[in-house]
Symmetry: C2
Subunit: 321 residues, 2 copies
């Protein structure tokens, strides 16, 4: 690395906090500060008003956009890309082409790089889907999510009357994973690929009714195989406050009379920490590409693996190949 | 794709034959012919004398070097790279930097691209080691091989007196895989990461002696956990003539107080078919990079994922991200 990457963060929720703690562990990055709407944040880092972010552009090599995909990224990301090399985790899959177009125009106008849609899905899973599919003349490909906490389904559980606390974990079914590896993909449907595990706190008198309401809730839980476990508030507080997630991308196919499969698996104790780790590595790549003169939007599919590493290409060739 | 890639093969062993059958399944490639020392091969493809290969350089976009790593690649690869954009599967790990240097000089002199050390290890495993390691501030990383046929160990089995037929499968141990995922890498050693399964044919009177000779053979089998199964010649011929292989690259680590793991797994019914599939995808990337004006040696670490695909970047962004 020629010089340390001066990095800033905008957005200080779960993701921004994870990025902050991981920047501190990078040998080639230092945290310039956090841009926020709020006057003070619970951090030792410098905090600057987000409205004045552009004034800092000459001191920042890389801006982590740790903003929500629902409204913040669509509304704000392009204006940041005009001033900073950025890296985001925009995850609204079917709107990524539109996001890319907008970020490309902004980054080209600003002479910056906008690395878009990093994280794990999109992100790590995207590159594995592309690479896996490229290996087989007629690839069969399946993505499975979990075991992991689903925010939307957890909210649905908590809306059921009598539920004092509740979470929902989505788990891939073993038999579906096996079918994918063996190329029996036609057996896999949305409903039989995953099962749903609900853990809730409720009075004993309500439990059977709650279980019935949950398992019969259309779309959310019906027709999925759903189990509902009731635990004490104490157990719930101790064991079900995390944000575990993960998943699998499985690609298989025929290679001229023989069958092979390629599988990429993530097991994440805390979803935002890993999303941040991926965002960080792709942020490093964005800066390196910007230093080589690249401008515009860049997707993870366009990033050569060595650009993610703190090691030089020569070191990697000597070590990892 | 602007025009079909005109591809040729040099070397017509297991790998060359696999490449030939997979080229036939690519929408963007056609087989120009095979360069060989022999006058005739069992193929419908055009066969040309390898000594005259250079005369065909203007008609060939990509030359698959399907030659052995022991002597053929070191002796011959550079002279091919002077005339053709090449892709090889050179797998002598600690000599790859030297191979790269030699191929780089040859390819730059010839104005070609030399894509080196594709396949799965090196190759697919290399990119997964690099990407995995880049995600964690203090990555713990382990590579496991198998379940798969080991040629060297099978040869050692067959040298034992009284063995009429024999193969050896290397298998990763489940507990070592689990330890790697959980970050207990210090518990993993060479000897406890894998176990060895020998399947052999021998007269019953010889079996106990053979078993003892095998399990006590230093380095090859001792101190590994080794099982020796005797089967009939008939069962051997039916069930143990394949070339299965595969393996795992597991990277795990702490992400600021939480633990995550990333795993890449291959299950291959036939080793050379998958090696060929990877060589093919990286060959495609070599041609695309050459058409963009790149020259010299290129490692898999330098290849952006989208370059492996027959689909355009825009299609991939719309589909896979």
């Amino acid at each position: 690395m020629t010089q340390k990457i001066s990095a800033a963060i905008v957005g200080y929720g779960n993701l921004g906090k994870s990025v902050e703690k991981l920047i501190a562990k990078q040998p080639d990055m230092e945290l310039y500060g956090i841009f926020s709407r709020r006057d003070s944040l619970e951090t030792d880092a410098a905090v600057y008003p987000v409205a004045e972010a552009a004034e800092h552009k000459d001191k920042v090599d890389l801006l982590f956009l740790c903003l929500g995909s629902a409204t913040d990224i669509p509304e704000q990301a392009a204006s940041f890309a005009e001033n900073f090399t950025t890296v985001d985790t925009y995850d609204n899959h079917h709107l990524i082409p539109a996001h890319r177009e907008k970020m490309d125009a902004a980054a080209k106008a600003g002479g910056t790089v906008a690395m878009i849609s990093t994280g794990w899905d999109p992100g790590m899973f995207s590159i594995n889907r592309t690479i896996g599919e490229a290996l087989f003349p007629n690839a069969q490909q399946n993505t499975f999510w979990g075991p992991g906490l689903s925010q939307g389904h957890s909210d649905a559980v908590r809306r059921v009357e009598g539920v004092k606390a509740g979470v929902q974990y989505t788990l891939p079914k073993e038999e579906a994973l096996q079918a994918a590896k063996e190329g029996r993909g036609d057996e896999i449907t949305g409903a039989n690929a995953h099962r749903r595990r609900v853990v809730a706190v409720a009075d004993e008198a309500d439990q059977e009714r709650i279980r019935q309401e949950i398992v019969s809730m259309p779309d959310y839980f019906e027709p999925y195989e759903t189990t509902v476990e009731f635990v004490s508030q104490e157990v719930f507080d101790r064991e079900h406050q995390g944000m575990p997630h993960g998943g699998h991308v499985i690609t298989s196919g025929d290679l001229g009379g023989t069958h092979s499969s390629v599988e990429f698996t993530l097991e994440l104790e805390r979803n935002p920490d890993f999303t941040a780790a991926s965002q960080l590595a792709y942020g490093r790549a964005a800066v390196r590409m910007a230093r080589e003169g690249r401008t515009g939007a860049v997707t993870v599919l366009e990033v050569a693996p060595y650009l993610l590493s703190t090691a030089s290409l020569d070191e990697l060739v000597a070590r990892d190949i």
